[in-house]
Symmetry: C2
Subunit: 330 residues, 2 copies
Amino acid sequence: MKLTSKNLSERTDTLYDAIIAGGGAGGLSAAIYLARYGLKCLVVEKGKGRSFWMQELRNYFGVDPTVPGRELQKHGMETALSWGADYLRAFVEDVTDRSDHLEVKVKVGKENSIYPVFKAKYLIAATGIIDILPKLENMQNVYDYAGFTLHVCMICDGFDMWDQKAILIVQKESQIEAAFVLSWFTPYITVLTHGLCEVSDAMKQKLKDHGYPLIETPIAQFLGENHHLQGVEFTDGTKIECTTGLINMGSIYHNHYLKGIPELTWEGENLVTDEFCQTTHPRIFAIGDLKKGVNQVSIAVADGTLAATKIWRIIRRSSSPRKWVEQLTA
Amino acid sequence: MKLTSKNLSERTDTLYDAIIAGGGAGGLSAAIYLARYGLKCLVVEKGKGRSFWMQELRNYFGVDPTVPGRELQKHGMETALSWGADYLRAFVEDVTDRSDHLEVKVKVGKENSIYPVFKAKYLIAATGIIDILPKLENMQNVYDYAGFTLHVCMICDGFDMWDQKAILIVQKESQIEAAFVLSWFTPYITVLTHGLCEVSDAMKQKLKDHGYPLIETPIAQFLGENHHLQGVEFTDGTKIECTTGLINMGSIYHNHYLKGIPELTWEGENLVTDEFCQTTHPRIFAIGDLKKGVNQVSIAVADGTLAATKIWRIIRRSSSPRKWVEQLTA
């Protein structure tokens, strides 16, 4: 059922089989599977994650390429609820290991917040990442293009940049390397640092050898209309033309609530997991963009399947098969 | 484009980047990704695989639980075609390793068949499995229930059997072990061997201890109406009541065309692969039910993503980044 600040006290005494931090594609897939295994689960979703921002999902088998991420999320939430999962709009604050179970403290409500604690045998960390966007004075100008013609994922949207004039926006020199991959889709690349980093002479030479201009002046605004990029204006008043772009400024990982668990193994900000997405803490699974691997909706959805299936196997194997005789005499 | 016996000669000189054997969920996911990476690919689909028979797909994030597999397949095929993939209705007969590429011989047409050969740098084996069904004189009687209330996958459909009177149909004693897993969903299990195997005294005792009746008489027919199972009649004229069931008689693997490739590593009939679904033959990938792992649509779809992405990386890294300068002076 859908939990709110009004009814959630009905569930704070429940020992959930699993709490899922994050209601994106991975978390909701896990919830659908857990619920259909007959396990008690709660999805905690803060809202506005990466899949919420996806305007179109071009690569996911079975779904029309024009369906936006937020619609898929809503559909998945309703499916999970219909099979018996619980769902709460809240922010996961902290996880405490109580040895035979985990305590998950969440923040409900932006104002007059309350901080209930839920209990679970297992946690599925599915809180993912969010892409860093260039900071402009008028952020609405960024949102008008980001996710439309100014992309954040080359695997998802490289195809839609084919042989177009493209910008590549970075904030570190190492991120410029993406230009030499993006060139698979288009060679007409201008690299923008937005004034955020120094670029070495070696990289400048490499860009020059490939014919990719480098502009280190900060961006003033994106130009275009109806989400269709037409160019960029810089703070010195100069302009360039472009019809598409890739933002490659890194990601913010939503993983703060796991940093107090010493048994976890990290590779950078990603969690290391086994083939069933189980971390090195036996009660914690990590799926989707939070774990090491390819950041794609299809992968997150499969991860949810795997984590839920492993949790079901562990719980099922710790109980005896139900007998027909017992049921009849009960 | 859609190939037929009339136009396929336009493609027999093409060196495809990848040929995908099998147009189920995994194969079509791979085709969608490959096409969007700008790679040339051909899907060869024989028709009527496992996902074609799925009446409802209850666990796949983003798709209504009532959507049948054949509708998803059609949708995926149209999406792949729209991004530029080729598609041919045919049966993969044989694969020959020509060292720098593979030759894939297919059979087109059930009558007056032709046997064209296509060439590809990589092969994605996505031909999956098909469930063995009990053989009755009137097979239509089996098809009337199989995939509706007589299931073939416990992970997919255990939830829909909850606490119902269920039959478990096996053809080997070892397959009876599924009863002690199925009991998670319902303890009211009757095991049917359809007269196909001997059952040891130890197993008989174990079933007795759990209160699960064992019937070794062959099935005469399934009883019920509108795909809703109501019972089973046996060849000796006896009947039992049941409202659901699980067929656990094993699977037929569509992998004959790979048996001549000595570099492949098998575990039973499954191919062993790495984390990108690459087999131990560097030009051959295996995805979905054909590879070792959990047999679920979500997994096959992710496998397609991984195999296609790895093939793109290999091909991309073997070519130099495109230069803007070259393009301008070309």
